[in-house]
Amino acid sequence: MIAARAGIRLVQDRIAALRRAVVGEVEDTNRLIYHVLRGGVLVSVAVLLFGFILVGAKSAALPDHSVPPRSLIPQLVQFTPAGFLSLGVLVLIATPMVRVLLSLLSFAEDGDRTYVLMTGIVLVNLLISVFLLA
């Protein structure tokens, strides 16, 4: 009984330590931006490579037209090469957008109103580009 409790305590301590480490890292905006940008590119490259594998596996032709965002999900469900190649491209386009959103949150956390406003304008510009012709 005591041993079990000690065991649980040990696990809880470990989780708390991990959490502190993650939060500590997140507090450094530079580190966070590094991981978002790097992670976005890595995910994009992985999805694209999978798309090319599908081209080989299905011996399909190389797609030359991207999939419009609204018909992306059906294409992904059917595992089409065009679907995954388009998804990889969209992940890459979204990466800097996510970075701006995180910058906004980080300026908000610092209570830096001027920069919240400025980052907000950039984010609105990006959203305009997404919805302008879609």
Binding site: P68, G88, S129
Partner: protein, 287 residues
């Protein structure tokens, strides 16, 4: 050329665009667009769209490392991105409306200008370091744009102040416009502007420009995407090639001197610019 040959050549070109781009603080588009149109015979609007995707990849890959190494001035980037994103959206909308020949001519001119700046700009980190005692512009104070960066070359921290924020903002809007219009990052406009006009040290200017380029290109890339101008196979090869190139390029910048690479790149760009101009003349029936 078979489609597979086109893709492999493009991946190779993208590798060099990523390598040179991350090294020189540009997106690599000034090189990718002429290569795609002249060598691979890709339609210029599709080439611009594909190049923008490559620019985002260069920026994200290189910027991440520079941000981690505290070379990037995040506040300055945020301030100037307001201008570049507005410029980029405008540029993309103009590009969709104008005939291809206009894009060829503008591109030729812009690339020649880029080649010229690249020869002129020198490494000036030490000359541009902090000068105390003078009054700083009120906008710089209000936005706390002044910053420090760590130079690995001589293991020292350089503190610098930013000058002429208004002029820098205007130039950034123009750089954004060219980015959306021509599928380039616009680093060849922003790096000299930040370095000479705003007195940001060269390495910090390269890192900050690289950082801004991704957001700028993303603003116009989606407009091209929604118009069906992004060829996913071409874009995918560009991303993979650029990704490999930036991984090498960022490792080079932290240590090396960019002067030699810059010179080779400039000559290369001048040749591409002339080729684009010749192509444009051929289009309008002069040649």
């Amino acid at each position: 050329m078979s489609p597979v040959e086109v893709l492999l050549l493009l991946a190779l070109a993208a590798f060099f665009a990523g390598l040179g781009g991350s090294y020189l603080g540009i997106g690599g588009g000034v090189f990718l667009v002429p290569f795609m149109t002249l060598v691979l015979a890709v339609d210029i609007k599709r080439a611009i769209a594909t190049s923008l995707i490559g620019v985002i990849a260069t920026s994200s890959g290189a910027a991440s490392v520079y941000v981690r190494d505290h070379l990037t001035n995040l506040r300055l980037a945020m301030f100037l991105e307001v201008a570049t994103t507005i410029g980029a959206i405008t540029g993309a909308l103009v590009a969709l409306l104008v005939p291809a020949v206009f894009l060829y001519v503008t591109f030729g001119a812009v690339v020649l200008y880029a080649a010229a700046t690249m020869v002129r700009v020198r490494e000036t980190a030490k000359e541009r370091s902090y000068r105390g005692g003078e009054e700083e512009p009120p906008l710089v104070k209000r936005l706390s744009l002044n910053s420090v960066y760590f130079d690995q070359e001589d293991q020292a921290v350089y503190r610098y102040r930013v000058d002429r924020p208004g002029a820098g903002f205007g130039v950034s809007a123009a750089a954004g416009l060219f980015s959306g219009l021509l599928g380039v990052g616009g680093g060849f406009i922003k790096v000299p502007a930040m370095n000479i006009l705003m007195r940001v040290p060269m390495k910090a200017a390269v890192a900050t420009s690289n950082f801004m380029i991704g957001v700028t290109a993303a603003a116009s890339a989606f407009i091209y995407y929604s118009q069906g101008l992004v060829d996913p196979s071409l874009a995918a090869m560009v991303i993979i090639g650029v990704f490999t190139g930036t991984n090498l390029g960022t490792r080079l910048l932290v240590r090396a001197k960019a002067a030699n690479v810059r010179f080779v790149f400039a000559i290369f760009l001048a040749a591409l610019g002339i080729a684009m101009a010749v192509r444009a003349l051929g289009f309008s029936g002069v040649v």
